[in-house]
């Protein structure tokens, strides 16, 4: 039993953090890290920021150097996709058919960018999830000013629009939301950001996309069934909106959200509705844990299953899942002999204060707690011209989240304390006023 590896599926931020945390928690047995991309673990937030901008090269995104990975003693399987998991026997199937019987598994496969069927196979249409995606878009933005249409006005679309505009491109941001990023930051902060984007010269539109024009001039509907073109793929020349308007485009970025990478988890013992469902310990089944964007777990403070596509959650949850898996294996007597130090004595619920940030132009947004799913949002604009603002998010009479735009670090840390343990709404309002009084 103890010659079996722990396998971590997914080699991005959550995966590499889980591997390191397993070693720190005392797992001395074999450790397999499986990633479907060919690259060493790299960081994704800079893809839509510094990398797209050209300020950073891909080497800068590496989360660990080869020298830092070496002491982990990993069986590193890059460019390898897991295709199945038998829960009862903890056995993974890898592309190519190899079966890997494991002592435990941590699922950290993340999410994949959503696309539109009508855009399949069109040159000039991009998504932005992987390093290869970002380098391809950056390459096409490099040859002088282009007309870029960003489809989707959430956080990713807004960040990419800001970078493209800074690079001097003609940028149109079109999305379903009347206010960009409103789902993540609330209407008040979203309107403030919209003002900044307009002031920087981005055209903002609220509309549904009906289809894409290609260079030859033939319209392609979103739902159209299209046969592959002969030879070179058709190149996008415009985006057709549901109201009929045509947005001419040299390049199109689809930033319409993402879907958890759970298609390979077909064992009926697992619930894969909107991510891999886990309990409060990040366990999906005995010996099977999940971390990062793919994991939907029961947050003990909020009393409902939550899933975050946030960079901070990837590391925090990976550390928790790894620790809890080792504690479970220790309780089973399934740790290899010679473990250094004492293993974690018992599993602990994973109860983080969620955090995310976004950089657009010179603006920095930082949020703690829950900002989506709020039934009450109070935005206070402290300085409209400087885009300094704070928003408090409530649900069922409790303050559950807070977001700061352009505030200094001491105030932001004070705001975090307001929502670290969700408290009554009125108390939190007063605390936010006190924390930002000197702003």
């Amino acid at each position: 039993m103890t010659d079996r590896p722990i396998a971590v599926v997914g080699a991005s931020a959550a995966g590499i953090t889980a591997a390191e945390a397993l070693r720190r928690a005392g797992w001395t047995g074999p450790l397999t890290l499986i990633g479907d991309e060919p690259h060493l673990p790299y960081d994704r937030p800079p893809l839509s920021k510094q990398l797209l901008h050209g300020a950073w090269e891909p080497e800068r995104l590496l989360l660990r150097t080869a020298e830092q990975l070496d002491p982990l003693g990993l069986d590193l399987r890059l460019g390898t996709r897991a295709t199945g998991l038998d829960v009862a026997t903890r056995t993974l199937t890898l592309a190519g058919g190899e079966r890997l019987a494991c002592a435990g598994v941590i699922v950290a496969t993340g999410v994949a960018a959503r696309t539109l069927p009508a855009a399949d196979g069109l040159a000039g249409v991009f998504t932005l999830r992987t390093l290869d995606d970002a380098l391809a878009l950056r390459g096409d933005l490099a040859g002088g000013p282009r007309r870029l249409v960003v489809v989707g006005n959430g956080v990713l679309g807004c960040e990419a629009a800001a970078v493209a505009r800074e690079l001097g491109h003609d940028v149109t941001l079109v999305g379903r939301e009347p206010v960009p990023m409103a789902a993540a930051v609330g209407r008040g902060i979203g309107e403030l950001l919209a003002e900044e984007h307009r002031a920087r010269g981005v055209r903002l539109l609220t509309a549904e996309v009906a289809g894409f024009e290609v260079a030859a001039g033939s319209a392609v509907g979103v739902a159209a069934d299209r046969t592959a073109a002969q030879g070179a793929p058709p190149r996008v020349s415009g985006v057709r909106l549901a109201g009929g308007e045509l947005l001419p485009a040299d390049l199109v970025l689809l930033a319409i959200g993402s879907a958890p990478a759970v298609g390979w988890l077909t064992d009926p013992a697992l619930d894969i509705t909107d991510g891999l469902r886990c309990d409060t310990y990040c366990a999906a089944a005995p010996g099977i844990y999940a971390a990062g964007d793919v994991a939907r777990w029961e947050h003990p403070e909020h009393g409902r299953p939550l899933r975050f596509e946030h960079r901070m959650n990837a590391t925090e949850q990976a550390m928790a899942a790894a620790r809890n898996l080792v504690a479970e294996l220790a309780a089973e007597g399934a740790l290899p002999g010679g473990a250094e130090g004492a293993p974690p004595p018992e599993r602990r619920p994973f109860a983080p204060v969620p955090y995310f940030w976004s950089d657009q132009y010179a603006l920095k947004l930082q949020a703690y707690g829950l900002t989506t799913g709020a039934d009450e949002v109070e935005t206070t604009v402290l300085d409209r011209a400087a885009r300094r603002a704070v928003a408090l998010f409530g649900r069922d009479g409790r303050a559950v989240g807070v977001l700061a735009c352009g505030l200094p670090p001491r105030q932001i840390r004070a705001l975090r304390a307001v929502v670290a343990g969700p408290g009554p709404w009125e108390e939190a309002r007063a605390a936010v006023r006190a924390a930002t009084a000197a702003a």
Partner: protein, 64 residues
């Protein structure tokens, strides 16, 4: 223990300051990390390791 920072990568999340306030601080103007003690005493080591592991921009490198 010796700590080095790649502060250009810092995203100003401030998690390191929450975890190890004796060792890390943030600049007032932009929140970028400031190293207060590059060779902290043993009592700080566990907190520093956690801060390095949790940093969402992989800024903190620890040599032991």
């Amino acid at each position: 223990m010796k700590i080095t920072l790649d502060a250009d990568k810092c995203c100003a999340a401030g998690q390191c300051v929450l975890i190890a306030p004796e060792v890390f601080d943030q600049r007032d103007e932009d929140g970028v990390v400031v190293l207060l003690d590059a060779e902290p005493p043993a009592g700080q080591h566990a907190a520093v390791r956690e801060a390095a592991a949790i940093c969402p921009a992989a800024v903190i490198e620890v040599q032991e």
